[in-house]
């Protein structure tokens, strides 16, 4: 007799609606194949260290020392730890009351939040208030907290780009809200047209949805585009006029691979615009240690910064944060180190800069290799990865392939990606996991495999794709008697 406590019928409906393709069907199939001994190249998730990127040395030294403070008393510690790492570890330990093992303030250690505020000020040229910066176990938790605060029910809509990183769609489903899509324009390099925004909002309102907030991912995921200043201004004006909270997912701000559009934070542009927008538009900005050139996904370190959110609302957000007591302290220290890295003159500076530049320059090269590799396939069109960590090529599938997919009970891009996986071991995420226009198919891969492996990976992809097309293409010019 099976227990009645919790079965599928009595499960929270919102949970059933949640989809998160990044670790969905393709990933599970890839894991199965891996267990069977097949070599898998996991390009499904932005997880740099899993693909061989080495951690930066300095932060690991500092955190290791914080982890084992008795080392600091050992006269031999200087043999394997540089003096500036030792000093920094001591500094962070003084910011805690009880070292890494004590719950910190529920918003995060005040000393680290101050470092974050100082970073923001250096970056943007405007002061930032540490009291409005909350550290979280990864940016995802912060996104979930803010969306949970905003969404009251299914009549509350959140504007989300299509394609989007499916944390947003999953979270909106989980909290019972409505996702209001706005389409990015693939032919215009995934640009954002404000008219699309207006249209989406109008449609939603006509369905009785109250649109509450707008998400922008800049640089984009999966699309990689970097928003121009003009675009950001349009967005800010739009949110101001429509009374939307702007949620700025800026976790890829260090990952910029072109020089025309450097990263501009939504906050900077907003403050540049002056009042009334600078004083009234509500903005929450998110950042993380998981991306950039740090790639410290496993530490779960992140923060959100609130601007123009009323104090009582901030208090309520604090209250909910306090229920989980505090974000993990090592992750907070990683974040502090990220926003306050070694400076010129520091013992570790040279090594730190060499490591960082090495990673960023390689990412830039890999972005190009991958874009070019995809574009060399006749049925594939791929926008250049201006930023972030992904390539999102459009795959044009012939009718026979679509038919085969239908017969197999799969959405066409899932069908393609499964075949790709089985043939080459490359584990991607089908575009349907991110959203795309009807009848247009993509896949998302990361640009993270090691640079020396890239040519072989792209060759492997091309070989598979050409064979796939060979198999499913309709040879119109070919007749048989």
């Amino acid at each position: 007799m099976s227990p009645k406590g919790l079965d599928y019928e009595t499960l929270n409906e919102n949970v059933k609606k949640v989809q998160y393709a990044v670790r969905g069907e393709l990933y599970l199939r890839a894991s199965e194949l891996q267990k069977e001994g097949k070599k898998i190249i996991f390009t499904n998730v932005g997880n740099p260290h899993a693909l061989g990127q080495k951690p930066l040395t300095f932060p690991r030294q500092v955190v290791a020392l914080c982890q084992a403070p008795f080392l600091l008393d050992d006269p031999n510690v200087g043999l394997i730890f540089p003096a500036d790492a030792i000093a920094r570890a001591k500094h962070y330990l003084t910011l805690t009351t009880g070292g890494l093992g004590a719950y910190s303030d529920s918003r995060g250690l005040p000393g680290v939040r101050k470092e974050v505020a100082e970073f923001i000020e250096r970056r943007d040229g405007y002061p930032s208030d540490p009291e409005l910066i909350f550290l979280t176990d990864g940016a995802s938790k912060g996104v979930m907290q803010i969306l949970n605060t905003i969404i009251r029910g299914e009549r509350d809509g959140i504007l989300v780009p299509v394609p989007q990183y499916p944390l947003y769609s999953a979270t909106i489903s989980l909290f019972g809200g409505s996702l209001v899509p706005y389409y990015l324009e693939e032919t215009a390099n995934w640009g954002l047209d404000v008219n699309n925004l207006r249209q989406s909002v109008a449609q939603a309102r006509s369905r009785g949805i109250t649109v509450r907030a707008m998400v922008i991912i800049n640089p984009g995921n999966p699309t990689g585009q970097c928003l121009s200043e003009a675009n950001l201004k349009e967005i800010l004006r739009f949110c101001y006029h429509e009374n939307l909270v702007l949620l700025g997912d800026e976790v890829y701000q260090q990952n910029i691979y072109q020089d025309e559009r450097p990263f501009l934070s939504a906050r900077k542009v907003m403050l540049d615009m002056g009042p009334p927008i600078s004083r009234e538009l509500q903005l929450v900005s998110f950042h993380t240690v998981s991306k950039g050139y740090w790639g410290e996904c496993g530490q779960r370190g992140g923060y959100f910064e609130m601007t123009n959110i009323p104090p009582q609302t901030v208090d309520e957000i604090y209250k909910v944060a306090s229920i989980s007591l505090s974000p993990n302290v090592p992750g907070q220290i990683f974040l502090g180190l990220m926003v306050n890295p070694p400076k010129p003159g520091d013992i570790s500076y040279l090594k730190f800069v060499t490591e960082s530049k090495g990673i960023l320059e390689s990412l830039r090269r890999r972005a190009q290799i991958m874009t070019d590799g995809f574009n060399s396939c006749r049925n594939v069109v791929c926008n250049f990865t201006e930023g972030a960590m992904y390539s999102f090529p459009q795959i044009r599938l012939p009718p026979k392939a679509m038919e085969a997919a239908r017969r197999a009970g799969k959405v066409p891009d899932v069908f393609y990606c499964l075949k790709l996986l089985e043939a080459t071991g490359i584990s991607t995420v089908p575009g349907s996991g991110f959203g795309q226009k009807e009848g247009v198919f993509h896949l998302r891969t990361t640009i993270l495999p090691a640079e020396e492996d890239m040519p072989a990976i792209m060759a492997s992809f091309k070989k598979f794709n050409d064979e796939f097309m060979e198999q499913y293409e309709d040879h119109r010019g070919y007749s048989r008697m």
Binding site: L6, A64, Q67, N76, I80, A102, G138, N148, P310, E316
Partner: protein
């Protein structure tokens, strides 16, 4: 008629919430509050205000870091700015189970392994042998070999690194003498997110109820409120050492059903928080039978499993009890929560923990996995620590003796402090305090004189909060009013941790006694 009382006074809260207002950075003082900026006719009020946020957020409460703590922090700042401005030298935070913030030392072996896993590059250096114990180095290698690419900075499997789950499962088996499956384990950033996950799965609407002990650790009430469910209280019996009566469970279940509530699960905290009682095996068997019969999911909060201070009681996991009754996954749905924050390790800041999920269908398991995957994974260092906690040094290991000495030192000191403080509370006029058989808290009951109750009401404060505030102002000691945990209507308690170091205890006791005497002198009937 008993009622669940959550004491909270609006004006007091409002007063202290406003004290958390923005710092004095000039630009940001211009940020609008919903009261300051008059709405213009062409621009209606901003979308995210108290009036328009998720009402469930407004509804939930968490007293452990609530009003009194904010007040204490303010007093602490005042002391720092102006030493001597208060009749005490320091604030003593006895509000929260946060041992290392009160100078409890971490377990050396655990920290050695974690440091090596944080910076594996030094494992190849010969100098490392001189700085770390050999078995810590060996354990670090073992763990790193279980992590693909030895990459501790990579997202892991969403349930946690497989090899670590294997270790934890083996630890559970060694503890219980019954098998544990690594696939049943979900590693989380502390036990709290795992509790939230289960509430999310179980609660469909406010028609879904969760049975919770009163008094309870307010994660449960807060989580239920956040997820839009209904808390169904069952009262622990103070007169019998906070005993759990099955008849009470039955009565509350029936009462809930008659109000149209579908009760989905039963929360049991063992050892108890704030109450500290350790359940007897008989009691546990009754609870298992009850859940099985009523089709309830048993949510077993076992985070204090290593904190037992009395020789006549032992911790038995609910899994062990169920299996020893012959009940398997087909008979009972059980979720067991464990954490690295408590025990003798007290590693709160690491956010490590897990839930072991048994007796659910494959469908549900998939859904749990799916929800876990949206957050990708819990922090790796916390995962590693959870595996160390469940598989610590063994007899014969190089670090065993120092590990055992540290562990025994902490546990025996905790037992001593529990006793000392319990006796101190029992010596206070009008105060009775049950023994802390386990966990980290004492939950004394104060019989407040009528005059005190009236004085409290005059300031619009709950009487237990009134007492706690007076205590704070007079002594610097921070406790949490009992209303934050729930108590029988008309009774007053506060929760005080046993965590300040031994050398501080005599001063705490004497200050407490002086304060209480003064308080009673002022308010005695």
């Amino acid at each position: 008629m008993r009622r669940f009382v959550v004491g909270r006074t609006k004006s007091l809260v409002n007063r202290y919430q406003r004290s958390r207002v923005l710092s004095s950075t000039p630009l940001l003082l211009d940020s609008p509050s919903s009261m300051a900026a008059p709405p213009s006719s062409s621009h209606p009020s901003p979308p995210v205000t108290l009036e328009t946020i998720n009402p469930k957020v407004l509804k939930c409460e968490y007293a452990v870091r609530g009003v009194i703590v904010t007040l204490a922090e303010r007093l602490q700042h005042e002391l720092q700015a102006n030493p001597g401005s208060h009749p005490f030298d320091e604030i003593l935070y006895c509000n929260i189970g946060n041992p290392q913030s009160l100078c409890q030392q971490p377990i050396t072996f655990f920290r050695e392994v974690l440091a090596l896993c944080d910076h594996p590059a030094i494992l190849d250096r010969s100098e490392t042998q001189g700085l770390f114990s050999a078995d810590a180095i060996e354990r670090a290698w073992q763990i790193l070999d279980q992590i693909p690419g030895r990459a501790t900075g990579a997202y892991s499997h969403s349930q946690g690194i497989k090899g670590l789950r294997d270790t934890i499962a083996a630890g559970i088996e060694a503890r219980d003498d019954f098998p544990a499956d690594p696939n049943d384990i979900f590693l989380t950033d502390g036990a709290s997110p795992a509790v939230h996950m289960m509430m999310q799965l179980l609660i469909r609407s406010e028609q879904d109820g969760i049975l919770c002990p009163i008094p309870q650790y307010p994660l449960y009430s807060a989580s239920i409120a956040l997820h839009g469910g209904t808390l169904v209280p069952y009262y622990l019996d103070e007169a019998t050492g906070w005993g759990l009566e099955i008849s009470e469970l039955k009565e509350q279940l029936e009462a809930a059903k008659s109000k149209g509530i579908t009760v989905r699960a039963l929360v049991v905290i063992n050892p108890g928080n704030p109450t500290g009682q350790v359940l007897s095996e008989d009691n546990q068997r009754e609870i298992v039978e009850f859940c099985k019969k009523e089709g309830l999911v048993l949510l077993a909060d076992e985070v204090y499993q290593e904190n037992v201070y009395v020789p006549d009681k032992k911790f038995h996991s609910f899994k062990k009890i169920s299996r020893s009754m012959g009940y398997g996954g087909d008979d009972i749905s059980l979720v067991s929560f464990q954490s690295v924050s408590k025990g003798y390790y007290g590693e709160c800041g690491k956010r490590g923990g897990y839930m072991e999920v048994t007796g659910f269908s494959a469908d549900i398991r998939e859904q749990i996995y799916k929800v876990a995957s949206v957050n990708l994974c819990s922090n790796i260092s916390g995962q590693i620590l959870a595996s160390l906690v469940m598989n610590p040094p063994k007899v014969g290991d190089e670090s065993y003796e120092s590990y055992a000495a540290e562990k025994d030192g902490i546990l025996s000191s905790l037992a001593k402090r529990a006793k000392t403080l319990e006796e101190a509370f029992n010596h206070l006029e009008g105060v009775t305090c049950n023994k802390a058989e386990g966990a980290m808290y004492l939950f004394p009951r104060i019989h407040l004189p009528q005059k005190a109750i009236e004085a409290a009401e005059a300031t619009n404060t709950a009487p237990d909060a009134f007492y706690a505030h007076r205590l704070l102002h007079a002594t610097g000691i921070v406790v949490v009013p009992g209303s934050g945990f729930g108590q029988v209507l008309g009774t007053w308690h506060f929760r005080c941790t046993i965590l300040p170091q031994e050398d501080k205890i005599p001063a705490i006791v004497s200050r407490l006694m002086d304060f209480h005497k003064g308080f009673m002198d002022e308010f005695r009937d």
